[in-house]
């Protein structure tokens, strides 16, 4: 679709705190994700996966290093090179482990808000939200508040919202941790499907080794350092 990389990070380093309490959460983390590529990021707790993902997501700028999205430099160290909020709204979709949804909006409205923030009219946003929920198999729950939805239904609604503006980048941090393995796998497959259909670059932080066959590329993170782990893929 386009010849730019969906995501490129160049030696991202993140230092939390200073002096005695200094923690280097991420060291020169570099990664390249092509459009349509689905990447898994593995690693023990505390290894810096979330730090990396939030840096790519433009919500937790790195101490140094650069982030390119769609070939465009958006973060140069801690400095924004564009309006990050607007950029996220247009080009990125996020899914986390839990509490992804705004509790005072029902499932449909949670999707709709993302569309309306991006300039869609109420009517159009409403129709598109229903389509997405339908696509994710939770259209019958459209009117329910998050507290009335099961973990799986919540995650599907969250995925629907993440996909709402047809983002070129989808970032997911342990999205299946709250789901049973069957549901978890379904959500992962969904990412792959969307990535391939929309030519989006997808990074999924996960602990779930059973679903790794879905991913195109697998990275491993340890002590803030990222490296490919292609060899560890179980036989597909």
């Amino acid at each position: 679709m386009n010849d730019h990389l969906a995501i490129e990070t160049d030696k991202l380093t993140k230092v939390y705190g200073s002096g005695n309490t200094e923690v280097v959460a991420m060291r020169e983390a570099s990664m390249r994700v092509r459009p349509g590529e689905v990447v898994a990021l593995l690693g023990p707790s505390g290894s810096g996966k979330s730090t990396f993902l939030t840096a790519v997501g433009l919500i937790n700028p790195p101490t140094s290093g650069r982030v390119f999205i769609g070939g465009r430099l958006v973060l140069d160290g801690p400095h924004a090179r564009t309006n990050l909020g607007k950029f996220r709204r247009r080009h990125m979709g996020f899914i986390f482990q839990k509490s992804n949804l705004i509790p005072f909006l029902n499932a449909r409205e949670n999707v709709q808000i993302a569309l309306q923030l991006n300039g869609a009219t109420t009517g159009a946003a409403r129709r598109r939200a229903m389509e997405l929920l339908d696509y994710l198999g939770v259209a019958d729950r459209a009117g329910n508040y998050p507290s009335m939805l099961s973990g799986g239904q919540q995650q599907r609604a969250a995925v629907a919202r993440a996909l709402a503006n047809e983002p070129s980048v989808i970032l997911a941090d342990e999205p299946t941790a709250a789901l049973d393995s069957h549901r978890g796998r379904q959500v992962m497959e969904l990412f792959a499907k969307v990535a391939h259909e929309n030519d989006a670059g997808v990074i999924v932080v996960t602990h779930d080794h059973r679903a790794l066959d879905i991913f195109d590329t697998i990275y491993e993170m340890e002590d803030g350092v990222i490296r490919p782990m292609q060899s560890a893929v179980p036989s597909a």
Partner: protein, 403 residues
Amino acid sequence: MNLAAKDIRHNLGRFALTTIGVGMLLMIVMGMGGIYRGIIEDATLLIDHIGADMWVVQRDTRGPLAEVSRVPSNLVHRVAAVPGVATSREFVYHTIQREYEGKPIRIAVLGLSWPTDKGDWLPLVAGRALRQNHFEMIADRTLRLELGEDIKLGRETYTIVGLTANMISSAGDGIAFVATSDAMAIQFDAAGEAVRLEREARRSRGERYEVGRQQPVLLEQAYKSSAEIPPIAPPQMSAVLVTVAPGHDAEQVAATIAAWGDVTVHTRADQRELLLEGNVEKVRRQIGLFRILLTVIAAIIMALILYTLTLDKLHSIALLKLIGAPSTVIVGMILQQALVLGVLGYGIGYLVGQRIFPQFPRRVILTQDDLMQLAAIVLAISVLSSLLGIWKAMRISPNEAIA
């Protein structure tokens, strides 16, 4: 999609209770202002209605509505003789407290100067003006007397022939209107024994004087009722009410009367002013300070509730920022909630006040100006009280949506 409304709907119970609470507070703020207006209105009602251009009162007093004023009864005729005076009538006014049907009742008794004044100027809500110069009474509704009811005051019984609304003294007592002579009878009513003792004393004073001993018939005279004894002055009145003839200068007339050594003249405007600055000024300050306190408390409560509503939403706000909501959306949400709280609170305060204030023993008058002023204040405190929540919301990072 209106986020403010969605959040309110989701927290409806809490929001409703808060709104009602704020509404009650605002109602009290409104009521306080209304009570103040009521006091002013009541204090000046009589002056405005009685239709006198000036009041001739005891020298150096502020008049019968503010303090005790005594003028001789022949003053009416002296005043009437002044060039430019159209009418001159007696004003008798005093407050009594009696037992009525087992309960204490305070009545401000006002004498109508029969036959020139039968009470036609009174705002009657039932019944009629006086038709005879004795034993008829027009009472204010607040005295809780019924039309046609008889009330015994002193040695006489008076029949209620008319009822007025909102005619009360500056102390808040309902006014009863009777003919002047009746008003005096009520005022100077003394027990039979007291009258006998007074006459006896008069006689024995007479016996001590040469003239009394030489002319025993004088002593006999002294034993009669005081009204029958020419040298004893008839009872005094409270004031004389004057209207100025058209074409004459009120200032001129006032100056003429004021030159007499025994009286002071107040124009209607003077009378108003005196009454307001004397009786009402302190009440005004007292109520004013109270209103300010209540307004501040309402603002603090609103700020607190908006702040906690925002705290509860911090995760949602971080999430909104994460999906790219601009600050205006988030500020707008909090500000709208503040305004909804303020506007609904004001509305509730107004509606509840409308139903409750009429039950108050004294009048609560909500004027358009006061209501507009309070509305502006409520809008201002709504905005101010949202600032704390907005400040908190602006500081939260989208990163916290993930935590």
